[in-house]
């Protein structure tokens, strides 16, 4: 009995148990302070569903030894283009999502391939290079959003009639269409069933993918490239495959995120997108050497809940002590970047 308990603790990891304990403590505090706990939990669930795919998108590159994909925004931009095209053509509802998916995934395959080739040429510095490419592309796309020949008057600036607006509202038929699919209330909690089902379905697909020939080769390349080569595996091809898969998942993730959020945010919005996702997978217990689906799921759940719950509670506490102001954003940045820094210092993993 004691032994099974100990092994359970070591699988989950002490840091995660501490965080979970902290979350419980926060929930109790929230209840005492009179914050709407049900709403907090509902918000957490929505955010988990929204961000889960971005975190999942990090898994293939980590497994293949390419490192954390700091260029996640590339895939997100592909998804954004798909969504905007749907808006421009006036397609709504599930067709809008499907169109965005087809275009987004197609673009992501092409962009991911080029990105993968580039990362192969800069082996050993993938994370830094990915970061630069992500930043550069987001900035480059700012020009694209401005100059692209979109004509739909609901999308372009009212004055001048050119250039997309920074935030586009998704029509009611598209907005939250997947969130609301089969969604139900449970003790006052709104469960975004569709998004959750999609997230877990993607996890399941990836689980089986990592048992196929390509998937296992990815693990081998990540674990020891020389071994992989001696086993007849083409290291560079596998690395490119992992980057393409990651980019496609990010495009998919962006579409799910946007439908849940109800808005399409352009220009600089995708710039910092990889960072919270990376913080998620790291808080879940992943390291540069070892990452699993469990890390993705636990990490997303803990990190997103932490962000959703901590901030209102802390704001409340700060408000009580008499200091005004909102420190939510500051905390968000400190937590996510601190985690990334922490994980990078422990490259070996535990």
């Amino acid at each position: 009995m004691k032994k099974t308990l100990l092994s359970l603790i070591s699988t989950i990891g002490i840091p995660r148990i501490i965080i979970a304990g902290f979350l419980t403590f926060l929930l109790i505090t929230a209840f005492v302070l009179g914050v709407d706990v049900n709403r907090l939990l509902s918000d957490s669930l929505v955010r988990i569903g929204r961000n889960g795919l971005f975190v999942l998108a990090l898994l293939p590159t980590l497994k293949a030894g390419v490192g954390l994909n700091f260029g996640l925004s590339l895939g997100a931009i592909c998804g954004l283009i798909g969504l905007v095209l749907g808006l421009e053509l006036g397609i709504t509802g599930i067709n809008h999502i499907l169109l965005a998916l087809v275009i987004g995934v197609l673009l992501a395959v092409i962009i991911g391939y080029i990105y993968g080739v580039l990362l192969n040429q800069t082996k050993g510095q993938e994370m830094m290079v990915g970061n630069y490419i992500g930043f550069a592309t987001v900035s480059l796309m700012c020009t694209f959003w401005l100059l692209a020949p979109f004509r739909n008057p609901t999308l372009v600036w009212a004055i001048g009639g050119r250039g997309l607006r920074t935030t586009l509202v998704l029509p009611g038929e598209t907005s939250q269409i997947i969130d609301n699919f089969l969604s139900f209330s449970f003790f006052g909690l709104n469960i975004p069933t569709g998004t959750f089902v999609l997230f877990f379905l993607s996890c399941l697909l990836l689980y089986f993918f990592f048992k196929t020939r390509s998937g296992l080769s990815m693990v081998a390349v990540g674990s020891n490239p020389v071994f992989a080569r001696a086993s007849g595996i083409k290291e560079n091809t596998i690395r490119i495959q992992s980057v393409v898969l990651s980019t496609v998942l990010a495009a998919f993730g962006m579409i799910i995120f946007a439908q849940s959020f109800g808005f399409v945010q352009l220009y600089m919005a995708p710039l910092m997108l990889p960072f919270p996702a990376i913080a998620c997978i790291l808080i879940g217990g992943a390291s540069l050497r070892k990452a699993t689906l469990l890390h993705v799921i636990i990490g997303t759940a803990l990190f997103q809940t932490l962000l959703t719950i901590t901030l209102p509670v802390v704001t409340q506490v700060v408000a009580i002590s008499g200091e005004a102001g909102d420190i939510t954003e500051v905390l968000r940045v400190i937590i996510s970047n601190g985690l990334i820094l922490y994980a990078l210092t422990r490259k070996g993993g535990d």
């Binding site: 089986f208 081998a220 001696a230 086993s231 007849g232 050497r289």
Partner: protein, 366 residues
């Protein structure tokens, strides 16, 4: 050039001792002859010379006294006039050591047909010099490859396995083998146990069963099952197989899920062997399998190799820097010198022949 400059310096400056470490290795024969003459002249001027070489004839030609080192120990010191090339060769190899007793109740079944033919193989591998190997391996034999470090014995298998870029022609079962392509190498029915166990041979951060299965899963599609048209890993089949091979090879571990990093050197080597066996190769290249392995495991590994050969008829090309090992289990031993096969000897050939072959002299002494 550099040698000439150093020699010139020594004439002008007040140098008393000169050390030459394998000076003739980079020179042609006539150049080497000139150098030796110059060295003799230098000694007449009162300069002492320490001449290090594996070329025994040169050593005897220039030296006044000869010291033989083996495995970091001084074995003998002789005056040049009191010794000869045969004695030095014997001292270099070490006759005192007795053969490892490897239990072999079964006789080797060597066929006349050639299973592997190597023609003018050149490999560019750092620290190894393979320059035009010609070799024929017979079906069913254990062929030993020996020679001094850096002379190319290790490079041969690495080159054929496609790990380092190589040129030349290799025929396996009368079909040409594509070089520089590890996939083709494995797919043809060959396998290679690398001398660099931790660097090439293992996934240290993965469990034993994953290490054992990966290559044959990738190349041959073993351990697969169908799931909605996808071929995925069959975990239960793999676990059963791993448990069996763990007990067959006596791998000391906690079970098939233990990480390879946690195993001892000998057990890691056994995992490598298990991986190669899972490929069911017709011909197996084995490089330095007993390096960094304790004595008990050493014996076990050699026994496994012999059993593979005797029971399954697997042809084995066995590379080792320990001559003793080579002579214990090989049917024929090729000695590599300066990137080429200097001589092919039976395991019971006199020590002196091995010693001479290692310094590049073929069959000079009867």
């Amino acid at each position: 050039m550099e040698i000439a400059r150093e020699v010139d310096k020594s004439k002008n400056n007040n140098i008393k001792v000169l050390v030459f470490d394998e000076p003739t290795a980079v020179l042609t024969e006539s150049e080497a002859g000139n150098l030796l003459k110059i060295l003799k002249q230098l000694t007449h001027k009162g300069i002492s010379i320490l001449f290090i070489s594996h070329r025994l004839d040169e050593v005897l030609q220039v030296s006044d006294r000869v010291v033989v080192l083996r495995d970091g120990e001084k074995i003998a010191e002789k005056n040049q006039s009191e010794t000869n090339i045969i004695e030095i060769a014997e001292l270099m190899v070490g006759r005192k050591l007795k053969r490892l007793e490897v239990i072999t109740e079964l006789k080797p079944q060597i066929e006349d047909s050639t299973i592997l033919k190597i023609n003018n193989l050149k490999v560019s591998m750092p620290g190894e010099y393979v320059n035009g190997i010609n070799l024929e391996i017979k079906k069913g034999e254990i062929f030993g490859l020996g020679g001094l470090a850096g002379h190319g014995k290790v490079g041969i298998a690495n080159g054929i396995a496609g790990l380092y870029s190589s040129s030349g022609e290799v025929w396996f079962q009368d079909k040409p083998l594509q070089l520089n392509n590890p996939y083709a190498f494995l797919n043809t029915g060959l396998a290679f146990l690398s001398e660099d166990r931790r660097g090439v041979g293992l996934l240290l951060n993965e469990p034993i069963n994953f290490n054992i299965c990966l290559t044959s899963f990738y190349i041959k599609g073993r351990f697969t099952k169908n799931l909605l048209g996808m071929k995925i890993l069959n975990q239960s089949e793999l676990n059963d197989y791993s448990k069996k091979i763990i007990s067959d090879l006596d791998i000391r571990c906690l079970g098939p899920h233990q990480f390879v990093r946690a195993l001892s050197g000998g057990n890691q080597q056994k995992v490598c062997i298990a991986r190669a066996l899972t490929m069911e190769p017709k011909l197996l290249f084995v490089s330095e399998p007993t390096r960094g392995v304790d004595v008990g495991a050493k014996q076990k590994i050699l026994e496994v190799l012999v059993n593979l050969n005797r029971r399954l008829g697997m042809t084995i090309v066995f590379t080792s820097s320990e001559l003793l090992e080579l002579r214990s289990i090989s049917d024929r031993i090729g000695i590599v010198h300066h990137g080429q096969i200097a001589d092919i000897l039976p395991p019971d050939a006199p020590d002196v022949k091995f010693g001479l072959a290692m310094s590049g002299i073929k069959g000079a002494v009867q």
